[in-house]
Amino acid sequence: MAKYLLLKHYRGAPAAVNDVPMDRWTPEEISAHVGYMNDFAARLEGTGEFVDGQALAPEGMFVRYDGEGRPPVTDGPFAETKDLIAGWMVIDVDSYERAIELAGELSAAPGAGGKPIHEWLEVRPFLGSAPTITECHGHG
């Protein structure tokens, strides 16, 4: 099993095919979308592949250490040009192919006109822990 992060972006990903802001959908289309997302997570719980899912507020800022005895420096809210993460789902699946398949299904969530959004999702493998047995790889 390997864990993958499916990242959804407010900004920074290539434009979706069906790229209409949500407040321009009909209320029914919004309900259909929310229902699809909930069903997707519930289905992955059912298959034993769901780990976590969270949404992030669009506001935020950068922070860094500014030296002993000084308060941290902040920069933000994020500039319009910055990549902005909207949320994520963590899945634990048997193969890379399965992770891609699931990301594709998530991207098919319905949007304006009830048609799939075709949203670009970022798929990132977790760096897992080192295996106990490495001999079989020929360099143990």
């Binding site: 407040d23 229902g35 949404a55 669009p58």
Partner: protein
Amino acid sequence: MNEALLRSLTPSVLGILVRRGADFAAAEDAVQDALVEAVRVWPADSPRDPKGWLITVAWRKFLDATRADAARRRREDLVDEEPAPGPAPAVDDTLQLYFLCAHPSLTPSSAVALTLRAVGGLTTRQIAQAYLVPEATMAQRISRAKRTVSGVRFDQPGDVATVLRVLYLVFNEGYSGDVDLAAESIRLTRRLAAAIDHPEVAGLLALMLLHHARRATRTAPDGSLVPLAEQDRGRWDTASIAEGVEILQAALALDRLGEFQAQAAIAALHADAPTAEETDWVQIVEWYDELARLTDSPVVRLNRAVAVGEADGPRAGLAALAALDDSLPRRAAVAAYLHERDGDLATAAGLYAEAARKAPNLAERDHLTRQAARLNARRRR
């Protein structure tokens, strides 16, 4: 086995151990161990005197733990004097426990966790699940909290207001995991109300009951929020409303008004209206004026603006809103609502979209996005 009964015995058993000389932290661990043992043993062999059983087992757990701890050898004198088994002392330390667990030296999250465990009898795992943090994190939070209050004398009088804030926080957390925190906080507040005669304790209990009565109608089957005006009032829990109103009236009769009584009065006026249109908004505005006098909170003034909008029209509501800071959470949502009622759909739609971007949780965000979408769809027609 009745888990509610078991957990309701927690504070008095813990109080008795502390009175016998156990320090709070060790006694609290011992009571938890005894609760776990009870869950294991009682289904097959239920004791005739559950409280006596818990006291005996918890005290034994305490002795075992203390004896095992070589660094605590100096306590041997104390623990060897095992008190004779017999009826539990009549004195109830429940109130002292509430004060200790909500001690001002604790952070709100620590006070919440400690209260749920030491007074509520929940396990660390249940509390962790309810607050969506790892069990190890919650265990650390609880043990740090116990260390923080370890120097506090058990018989010191505490501050009711801090206890009420903790219980209010628990209630507002609602429902997640396998523990119903709203029901749990009502149980704990009911217990507190039985231990101390205080109008604000009664006010908080009434407030909780009146809100809890509407719970089934606050979300649609698909999980989306249903605003107060659109809730199915026929499904409100009338027994819970009647109890809340009765408790509130008794508290108000004492003539020592506080913010929880005022909030409960507003909730009672909503509960009392057969339809949303029949809501007595004039009286609700008066209660918000009382609340503003008591707390001077900007959140109160925001809610007051909504009430003014209903009582005197949306323009009056917008005028009340104008004095409030733009950065106030949910201000955009209130402004959107008032502009919609005033017939300015374009402004309202824009404000709903802005409010959605600033929403503090997904349910509210989805709700506000739907509102913006509804108005935009209407404007396209």
